[in-house]
Amino acid sequence: MTRADIVLLLLAILALPFVYLHYWQPTTAGTTVRIMRGETLVRELALNKDRRISVDGPLGVSRLQIKDGKIRFTDSPCTGKVGIHAGWLSHSGDFTACLPNRISIEIMGSGQYDSMNF
Protein backbone atom coordinates (compact mmCIF):
# COMPACT_ATOMS: atom_id res chain seq x y z
CA MET A 1 0.00 0.00 0.00
CA THR A 2 1.22 3.50 -0.75
CA ARG A 3 1.33 6.19 1.89
CA ALA A 4 -1.77 7.82 0.37
CA ASP A 5 -3.65 4.51 0.68
CA ILE A 6 -2.81 4.22 4.37
CA VAL A 7 -3.74 7.84 5.12
CA LEU A 8 -7.06 7.46 3.30
CA LEU A 9 -7.87 4.18 5.07
CA LEU A 10 -7.09 5.65 8.50
CA LEU A 11 -9.13 8.78 7.75
CA ALA A 12 -12.09 6.67 6.63
CA ILE A 13 -11.97 4.48 9.74
CA LEU A 14 -11.52 7.48 12.07
CA ALA A 15 -14.41 9.33 10.42
CA LEU A 16 -16.87 6.45 10.88
CA PRO A 17 -17.67 7.05 14.60
CA PHE A 18 -18.41 10.70 13.80
CA VAL A 19 -20.71 9.68 10.97
CA TYR A 20 -22.61 7.45 13.42
CA LEU A 21 -22.79 10.27 15.98
CA HIS A 22 -24.05 12.71 13.38
CA TYR A 23 -26.73 10.55 11.78
CA TRP A 24 -27.81 8.66 14.88
CA GLN A 25 -28.63 11.59 17.13
CA PRO A 26 -31.19 10.49 19.71
CA THR A 27 -34.70 11.36 18.70
CA THR A 28 -36.93 13.47 20.89
CA ALA A 29 -40.54 12.81 21.72
CA GLY A 30 -42.83 14.36 19.15
CA THR A 31 -45.49 16.91 20.01
CA THR A 32 -47.76 16.91 16.98
CA VAL A 33 -48.64 14.64 14.11
CA ARG A 34 -49.23 15.61 10.51
CA ILE A 35 -51.72 13.54 8.60
CA MET A 36 -51.33 13.83 4.84
CA ARG A 37 -53.42 12.63 1.92
CA GLY A 38 -50.99 12.49 -0.98
CA GLU A 39 -49.26 15.86 -0.98
CA THR A 40 -51.95 17.75 0.92
CA LEU A 41 -52.08 18.23 4.68
CA VAL A 42 -55.34 16.87 6.07
CA ARG A 43 -54.89 17.73 9.73
CA GLU A 44 -52.18 18.54 12.21
CA LEU A 45 -53.03 17.28 15.70
CA ALA A 46 -51.42 17.46 19.13
CA LEU A 47 -50.32 14.11 20.53
CA ASN A 48 -51.21 14.99 24.14
CA LYS A 49 -54.93 14.42 23.68
CA ASP A 50 -56.21 10.85 23.25
CA ARG A 51 -58.59 10.49 20.33
CA ARG A 52 -59.53 8.42 17.32
CA ILE A 53 -59.48 9.87 13.81
CA SER A 54 -60.90 8.69 10.49
CA VAL A 55 -59.36 9.90 7.25
CA ASP A 56 -60.85 9.37 3.81
CA GLY A 57 -58.55 8.17 1.06
CA PRO A 58 -59.08 6.98 -2.50
CA LEU A 59 -59.70 3.38 -1.31
CA GLY A 60 -61.82 4.16 1.72
CA VAL A 61 -61.44 5.16 5.34
CA SER A 62 -58.16 4.81 7.25
CA ARG A 63 -58.52 4.89 11.03
CA LEU A 64 -55.92 6.28 13.42
CA GLN A 65 -55.65 6.30 17.18
CA ILE A 66 -53.78 8.80 19.37
CA LYS A 67 -53.01 7.66 22.91
CA ASP A 68 -50.40 8.70 25.51
CA GLY A 69 -48.39 10.82 23.05
CA LYS A 70 -48.31 8.06 20.45
CA ILE A 71 -50.20 7.41 17.25
CA ARG A 72 -50.96 4.31 15.20
CA PHE A 73 -53.00 3.10 12.26
CA THR A 74 -55.79 0.87 13.55
CA ASP A 75 -57.42 0.13 10.22
CA SER A 76 -56.81 0.80 6.57
CA PRO A 77 -58.48 -0.51 3.40
CA CYS A 78 -55.27 -1.86 1.84
CA THR A 79 -53.82 -5.34 1.41
CA GLY A 80 -50.29 -4.85 2.80
CA LYS A 81 -51.30 -3.28 6.14
CA VAL A 82 -47.78 -1.78 6.33
CA GLY A 83 -49.06 1.25 8.22
CA ILE A 84 -50.76 -0.93 10.82
CA HIS A 85 -47.70 -3.14 11.25
CA ALA A 86 -45.57 -0.06 11.89
CA GLY A 87 -47.30 0.10 15.29
CA TRP A 88 -47.12 3.06 17.62
CA LEU A 89 -45.13 6.13 16.53
CA SER A 90 -43.97 8.69 19.07
CA HIS A 91 -40.57 10.19 18.11
CA SER A 92 -40.19 13.31 16.02
CA GLY A 93 -39.35 12.30 12.48
CA ASP A 94 -41.17 8.97 12.73
CA PHE A 95 -43.13 8.29 9.60
CA THR A 96 -45.44 5.66 8.22
CA ALA A 97 -47.92 5.51 5.40
CA CYS A 98 -50.67 3.53 3.82
CA LEU A 99 -49.49 4.08 0.27
CA PRO A 100 -52.44 2.39 -1.49
CA ASN A 101 -54.82 4.71 0.35
CA ARG A 102 -52.38 7.66 -0.02
CA ILE A 103 -52.53 8.43 3.73
CA SER A 104 -49.29 9.16 5.56
CA ILE A 105 -48.50 10.32 9.09
CA GLU A 106 -45.39 12.04 10.31
CA ILE A 107 -44.53 13.03 13.86
CA MET A 108 -43.26 16.58 14.23
CA GLY A 109 -40.99 17.83 17.05
CA SER A 110 -41.41 20.93 19.14
CA GLY A 111 -39.53 23.07 16.64
CA GLN A 112 -39.95 23.19 12.91
CA TYR A 113 -36.77 21.15 12.40
CA ASP A 114 -35.30 18.47 14.62
CA SER A 115 -31.86 19.05 13.16
CA MET A 116 -30.23 21.45 10.77
CA ASN A 117 -27.58 20.47 8.29
CA PHE A 118 -25.52 22.86 6.23
Binding site: T2, L9, A12, Y20, Y23
Partner: protein
Protein backbone atom coordinates in the same frame (compact mmCIF):
# COMPACT_ATOMS: atom_id res chain seq x y z
CA UNK B 1 -22.20 0.48 -49.78
CA UNK B 2 -19.75 -1.01 -47.41
CA UNK B 3 -19.17 0.50 -44.02
CA UNK B 4 -16.04 -0.42 -42.20
CA UNK B 5 -15.68 0.21 -38.53
CA UNK B 6 -12.13 0.31 -37.41
CA UNK B 7 -11.57 -0.51 -33.77
CA UNK B 8 -8.43 0.41 -31.94
CA UNK B 9 -6.68 -1.93 -29.48
CA UNK B 10 -8.07 0.31 -26.76
CA UNK B 11 -11.62 -0.33 -28.00
CA UNK B 12 -11.27 -4.08 -27.80
CA UNK B 13 -9.57 -3.80 -24.44
CA UNK B 14 -12.54 -1.74 -23.15
CA UNK B 15 -14.96 -4.29 -24.62
CA UNK B 16 -13.21 -7.23 -23.00
CA UNK B 17 -13.07 -5.68 -19.57
CA UNK B 18 -16.64 -4.40 -19.85
CA UNK B 19 -17.82 -7.92 -20.68
CA UNK B 20 -16.00 -9.21 -17.62
CA UNK B 21 -17.43 -6.47 -15.38
CA UNK B 22 -20.98 -7.00 -16.73
CA UNK B 23 -20.72 -10.72 -15.99
CA UNK B 24 -19.71 -10.03 -12.40
CA UNK B 25 -22.40 -7.33 -12.09
CA UNK B 26 -25.14 -9.71 -13.29
CA UNK B 27 -23.98 -12.63 -11.15
CA UNK B 28 -23.76 -10.37 -8.12
CA UNK B 29 -27.30 -9.08 -8.60
CA UNK B 30 -28.62 -12.57 -7.91
CA UNK B 31 -26.93 -12.74 -4.50
CA UNK B 32 -29.27 -12.22 -1.56
CA UNK B 33 -28.60 -9.12 0.53
CA UNK B 34 -29.15 -8.81 4.29
CA UNK B 35 -29.72 -5.03 4.12
CA UNK B 36 -31.37 -3.20 1.22
CA UNK B 37 -28.69 -1.46 -0.80
CA UNK B 38 -25.83 -3.59 0.48
CA UNK B 39 -23.80 -5.12 -2.36
CA UNK B 40 -20.21 -6.33 -2.37
CA UNK B 41 -19.50 -4.27 -5.49
CA UNK B 42 -17.22 -6.91 -6.98
CA UNK B 43 -17.52 -5.40 -10.46
CA UNK B 44 -15.56 -2.45 -9.11
CA UNK B 45 -12.55 -4.75 -8.79
CA UNK B 46 -12.42 -4.67 -12.58
CA UNK B 47 -12.71 -0.87 -12.67
CA UNK B 48 -9.88 -0.47 -10.18
CA UNK B 49 -7.66 -3.05 -11.88
CA UNK B 50 -8.20 -1.36 -15.26
CA UNK B 51 -7.52 2.03 -13.69
CA UNK B 52 -4.17 0.89 -12.30
CA UNK B 53 -3.19 -0.94 -15.48
CA UNK B 54 -4.46 1.31 -18.29
CA UNK B 55 -5.38 4.64 -16.76
CA UNK B 56 -8.48 6.64 -15.95
CA UNK B 57 -9.96 6.94 -19.45
CA UNK B 58 -10.28 3.19 -20.00
CA UNK B 59 -11.56 2.68 -16.44
CA UNK B 60 -14.25 5.33 -16.92
CA UNK B 61 -15.46 3.64 -20.12
CA UNK B 62 -15.53 0.22 -18.48
CA UNK B 63 -17.36 1.49 -15.40
CA UNK B 64 -20.07 3.45 -17.25
CA UNK B 65 -20.59 0.82 -19.97
CA UNK B 66 -20.87 -1.82 -17.27
CA UNK B 67 -23.78 0.06 -15.65
CA UNK B 68 -25.50 0.57 -19.00
CA UNK B 69 -25.05 -2.97 -20.35
CA UNK B 70 -25.68 -4.55 -16.93
CA UNK B 71 -29.02 -2.73 -16.68
CA UNK B 72 -30.01 -3.83 -20.20
CA UNK B 73 -29.22 -7.45 -19.36
CA UNK B 74 -31.08 -7.31 -16.02
CA UNK B 75 -33.99 -5.31 -17.42
CA UNK B 76 -33.52 -2.44 -14.98
CA UNK B 77 -32.60 0.22 -17.58
CA UNK B 78 -33.95 3.66 -16.49
CA UNK B 79 -35.49 2.14 -13.34
CA UNK B 80 -34.59 3.46 -9.86
CA UNK B 81 -31.98 0.67 -9.55
CA UNK B 82 -30.33 1.95 -12.71
CA UNK B 83 -30.43 5.58 -11.58
CA UNK B 84 -28.78 4.62 -8.27
CA UNK B 85 -26.18 2.54 -10.09
CA UNK B 86 -25.44 5.30 -12.56
CA UNK B 87 -25.17 8.04 -9.94
CA UNK B 88 -22.72 5.86 -8.01
CA UNK B 89 -20.64 5.04 -11.08
CA UNK B 90 -20.49 8.63 -12.38
CA UNK B 91 -19.50 10.03 -8.98
CA UNK B 92 -16.87 7.40 -8.31
CA UNK B 93 -15.39 7.86 -11.79
CA UNK B 94 -15.13 11.62 -11.12
CA UNK B 95 -13.61 11.07 -7.67
CA UNK B 96 -11.13 8.56 -9.14
CA UNK B 97 -10.11 11.19 -11.70
CA UNK B 98 -9.32 13.50 -8.79
CA UNK B 99 -7.44 10.62 -7.14
CA UNK B 100 -5.18 10.14 -10.14
CA UNK B 101 -4.11 13.80 -9.89
CA UNK B 102 -2.52 13.21 -6.49
CA UNK B 103 1.18 14.09 -6.62
CA UNK B 104 3.95 11.69 -5.58
CA UNK B 105 3.35 7.93 -5.69
CA UNK B 106 -0.36 8.59 -5.38
CA UNK B 107 -2.92 5.95 -4.56
CA UNK B 108 -2.58 2.22 -5.11
CA UNK B 109 -5.50 -0.17 -5.78
CA UNK B 110 -6.60 -0.18 -2.13
CA UNK B 111 -6.83 3.62 -1.99
CA UNK B 112 -8.65 3.86 -5.32
CA UNK B 113 -11.06 1.13 -4.30
CA UNK B 114 -11.83 2.92 -1.02
CA UNK B 115 -12.36 6.22 -2.85
CA UNK B 116 -14.69 4.50 -5.31
CA UNK B 117 -16.76 2.66 -2.70
CA UNK B 118 -17.18 5.72 -0.48
CA UNK B 119 -18.10 7.86 -3.51
CA UNK B 120 -20.55 5.18 -4.63
CA UNK B 121 -22.48 4.91 -1.39
CA UNK B 122 -22.55 8.68 -0.78
CA UNK B 123 -23.83 9.40 -4.28
CA UNK B 124 -26.43 6.65 -4.06
CA UNK B 125 -27.79 7.97 -0.78
CA UNK B 126 -27.95 11.50 -2.16
CA UNK B 127 -29.67 10.24 -5.31
CA UNK B 128 -32.14 8.07 -3.36
CA UNK B 129 -32.92 10.99 -1.05
CA UNK B 130 -33.39 13.54 -3.83
CA UNK B 131 -35.28 11.36 -6.30
CA UNK B 132 -37.01 8.50 -4.52
CA UNK B 133 -37.27 8.72 -0.73
CA UNK B 134 -37.18 12.39 0.37
CA UNK B 135 -37.42 11.52 4.03
CA UNK B 136 -34.66 12.32 6.54
CA UNK B 137 -35.11 8.87 8.12
CA UNK B 138 -33.29 7.41 5.11
CA UNK B 139 -30.01 8.85 6.37
CA UNK B 140 -30.20 6.67 9.50
CA UNK B 141 -29.09 3.81 7.28
CA UNK B 142 -26.13 5.78 5.95
CA UNK B 143 -23.56 5.09 8.73
CA UNK B 144 -24.23 1.35 8.50
CA UNK B 145 -23.80 1.22 4.74
CA UNK B 146 -20.77 3.52 4.91
CA UNK B 147 -19.13 1.08 7.33
CA UNK B 148 -19.72 -1.73 4.87
CA UNK B 149 -18.45 0.49 2.04
CA UNK B 150 -15.15 1.08 3.86
CA UNK B 151 -14.73 -2.62 4.67
CA UNK B 152 -15.75 -3.88 1.22
CA UNK B 153 -13.77 -1.12 -0.51
CA UNK B 154 -10.68 -2.28 1.33
CA UNK B 155 -11.31 -5.97 0.55
CA UNK B 156 -11.99 -5.26 -3.14
CA UNK B 157 -8.82 -3.16 -3.26
CA UNK B 158 -6.79 -6.03 -1.85
CA UNK B 159 -8.32 -8.43 -4.40
CA UNK B 160 -7.52 -5.94 -7.16
CA UNK B 161 -3.93 -5.61 -5.93
CA UNK B 162 -3.42 -9.36 -5.99
CA UNK B 163 -4.98 -9.50 -9.48
CA UNK B 164 -2.50 -6.87 -10.65
CA UNK B 165 0.49 -8.78 -9.29
CA UNK B 166 -0.66 -12.17 -10.59
CA UNK B 167 -1.84 -11.44 -14.10
CA UNK B 168 0.33 -10.31 -16.92
CA UNK B 169 -1.65 -8.66 -19.65
CA UNK B 170 -0.85 -9.48 -23.25
CA UNK B 171 -2.37 -7.51 -26.10
CA UNK B 172 -4.22 -9.72 -28.60
CA UNK B 173 -2.90 -9.52 -32.13
Amino acid sequence: MKITLRSTPEDSRIAWFTALAVTIHVLESSLPSPIPGLKPGLANIITITVLCQFGWRTAAWVSLLRVLVGSLVLGTFLSPTFMLSLSGAVTSVLILWGGTKLPGRGFGPVGYSLLASIAHISAQFTCAYLLFIPHPGLWRLFPVLLTFAVALGMINGIISRSLLTHISYREAE
